[in-house]
Subunit: 258 residues, 2 copies
């Protein structure tokens, strides 16, 4: 049985110093749903109630219309699969030919769930706790739309002193894509620089950042279990929960100076 | 030019009474990206910097490798389209045959962006501000994983007195799908009942809830522009920003008793 949370060692940094503590992060789990032996979706989710998730998802997407459509449900907790069979001759809507249904819940693309093929970020840069706090302060000052509405994510590219590119979007993935898209079109280098995000740090965010050679990822929010694991594997310094003069270091703490 | 925010009339309810005010909500925009005349994705996003979003998305998904791959970018702000052409004979990776790339940023399925085909929720139920506050209090008490980690969404089905089904997931869409999946498998009626979510209320959430005949949607967070519009069109009472004895009513306020 997989749990919704995992305990991991974390370096907590406060004004008083550094402490090694054990922190709780949410488990990130990959669930593939098949309908009558056709793979329809892989969702990033929490690992409990997978049967309910599969049924609710298929209903929301219009692929089943109710309980009566269901012949059998097979749940494979370990393998991350739910296989649902419908009653015969039901004549379902079927999958849209656009293939629109393969999505991830509150996220994107499961093809990137593992770090496969992604090379490690190599960078000697270091940053101090004071610099992190100053950057996050500046980041919060920038977040005009968020302050007005409470409904938006922000992302920024920085060097250790200041914010170079800043953007906002209702989606945390979109905000990071906008930052990197702007950098690409304006020839702004990203390698060896820092990214700040207002949102949760899941596997997909880590992989986006790794692709651009970013060695330090800072979030005001919490990472997921797989986010932490990927940060460690990919050589990325992951700083989370930066709030009120504190922060947690989840991976590659050696880049924190002093 | 579309803005990242919109001003809308809202009924604010506090202990002192009710006020009609004008509130700011985030704009929800639908962007379709084509690559060499093939539609690769439709993202729900904020409507600015669409060019950056398209380029950053295509890069993150591995469909372009850099600026040098780009021949031309055509942005249609009004129509919500970015068309990107690559240089000839580049021999791109192409789209995975799985069709995995059609996803929505921080969300799901653009096929449901409009209310097309969704019937209005008909229900005479009413609820008092005190009942909303009590339910949200109970909801917050339930949110164990969120409290421990700060990284999870919750959703619940309730009647006007108490929570009937409660669930948590790292994705706000997943949490609602889990609630409805459980209801379906356990034959728990959803029509005429209430749903509470910890997350932002976007168009997709409204449509999920409408499909199950839920007339009242309560959120601790903010709605998007399209979320508000759909709630009005679909006959759903939308209560947002329930915090510290206050709440905002964005649509179908008539169900608030007293």
């Amino acid at each position: 049985m997989v749990n919704n949370t995992e305990r991991i060692p974390v370096l907590r940094v406060t004004e008083k110093g550094k402490d090694k503590i054990v922190d709780v992060v949410v488990t990130e789990f990959s669930l593939t749903i098949t309908l009558d032996n056709r793979e329809v979706a892989t969702l990033l989710c929490s690992p409990t109630n997978l049967e309910y998730l599969a049924v609710g998802f298929l209903f929301s997407e219009g692929l089943i219309e109710g309980k009566d459509d269901i012949k059998e449900i097979e749940v494979d907790d370990e393998g991350g699969m739910v296989r649902l069979e419908t009653k015969e001759d039901k004549g379902f809507l079927g999958l849209p030919s656009s293939g629109r249904l393969v999505t991830s819940g509150g996220g994107r693309g499961t093809q990137f769930y593992h770090a496969q093929g992604q090379t490690k970020v190599e960078s000697d840069i270091e940053i101090s706790a004071g610099e992190v706090l100053a950057l996050v302060d500046e980041f919060v000052q920038h977040s005009a739309v968020f302050k007005a509405t409470g409904g938006v994510h922000s992302a920024a590219l920085c060097d250790s002193r200041s914010i170079l590119v800043f953007t906002e979007d209702i989606g945390r993935h979109n905000a990071i894509d906008k930052v990197f898209g702007e950098c690409m079109l304006k020839d702004i280098p990203t390698a060896g620089r820092l990214v700040i995000t207002s949102g949760r740090v899941s596997s997909e965010i880590l992989l986006k950042v790794a692709k651009r050679g970013v060695p330090v990822l800072i979030s005001k929010a919490a990472p997921t279990s797989v986010g932490v694991r990927l940060a460690r594997d990919l050589g990325i310094t992951l700083v989370g929960f930066v709030r009120e003069g504190r922060m947690n270091l989840y991976a590659n703490e050696w880049r924190l100076r002093g």
